[in-house]
Subunit: 188 residues, 2 copies
């Protein structure tokens, strides 16, 4: 599959090196076959973006935990989401590359928008789920909280990539989890 091959090349070598030649070589296919499956390289990149973003959101969903202790659950869930990222740094870097790439082209900026909307939807679902299970309600609007969560995870991962300081990242995450817990109050 060309998309899977492109994903491997991209994770390994970065978006700049992800040429049609490299992709078809990775897939063990002749170069000519590329334009038999995709009209252009951009068309493949668009399909690839939806795939890797979907995988990422799925991984975040799988990281949810639920023991009933709100602060501990938040901390565990955030740590699990962050761990899912740091375990695959190259895949995470691909997501940033796809975002910046899409933002440069007016034709594909919609893709970056969709990407971060997907993140927000996942965070919103999680916050709703937690509120329901722990019988609390959030003291700030869910859209604001969801964006705060996405911002923190996404920003923390980007800050982590250059120095890979997992220790301090976890401390930041715990501080954020405590903040989030303080924004919950018992529901009536």
């Amino acid at each position: 599959m060309l998309i899977a091959a492109a994903a491997r090349v991209m994770a390994r070598d970065g978006i700049a090196q992800t040429t049609t030649r490299a992709i078809t070589a990775e897939a063990g296919m002749p170069r000519g076959s590329f334009h038999y499956c995709f009209r252009s390289k951009d068309e493949l990149l668009r399909e690839l973006a939806t795939t890797v973003v979907g995988d990422m959101v799925q991984a975040a969903q799988d990281a949810q935990t639920d023991t009933g202790d709100l602060p501990a659950d938040l901390r565990a869930a955030l740590r699990a989401m962050f761990a899912a990222i740091t375990e695959h740094p190259d895949e995470q870097l691909v997501l940033y590359e796809l975002t910046t790439y899409a933002l440069r082209d007016p034709e594909t900026v919609e893709l970056a928008r969709w990407q971060y909307e997907s993140y927000l939807r996942q965070a919103t679902d999680y916050l709703d789920y937690v509120a329901d299970r722990a019988r609390i309600r959030w003291t700030l609007p869910i859209p604001v909280l969801a964006r705060l969560v996405v911002t923190t995870i996404d920003g923390l991962a980007l800050n982590w990539l250059p120095d890979r300081d997992t220790e301090i990242a976890c401390q930041v995450l715990d501080a954020f989890a405590a903040h989030l817990a303080s924004l919950a109050e018992p529901s009536t």
Copy 2:
């Protein structure tokens, strides 16, 4: 100046289109002159990175305010830093492009590290300055708080770029400012 020309091309067209041809054309110079000033394109990109990161840190420093009211000052400073970013979205996008580009090459990963160290240093200086002026001390280690600040501003800006929703970004920023203020206690 070739670096200034490269910065303009990069902000306008993105890193992928920032070729030696485009740079020299922007500078009104013949193509051959490029390699008279720089050994290679990567050498210029390295110098350009230090320039734009320096400009960014300087802009953040200029955004500091001080009225004595801690929560209000934090809110105003964070908003000013964020405004400095959103007023120049293309320049901010360049910073992300430079980071992801540098992270892909073992030879230049040091540059990405230096970039985020610069952000951290700026945030650390700000937190120290605020603590001194408002006569408070932080209840979490400064390195953790500094990374939290950088993460939030940087992550929020990246989340803002696709949908440009300034309204909700400011709400997130205010929530974060309140959180930060709650992490201060009067110094003895």
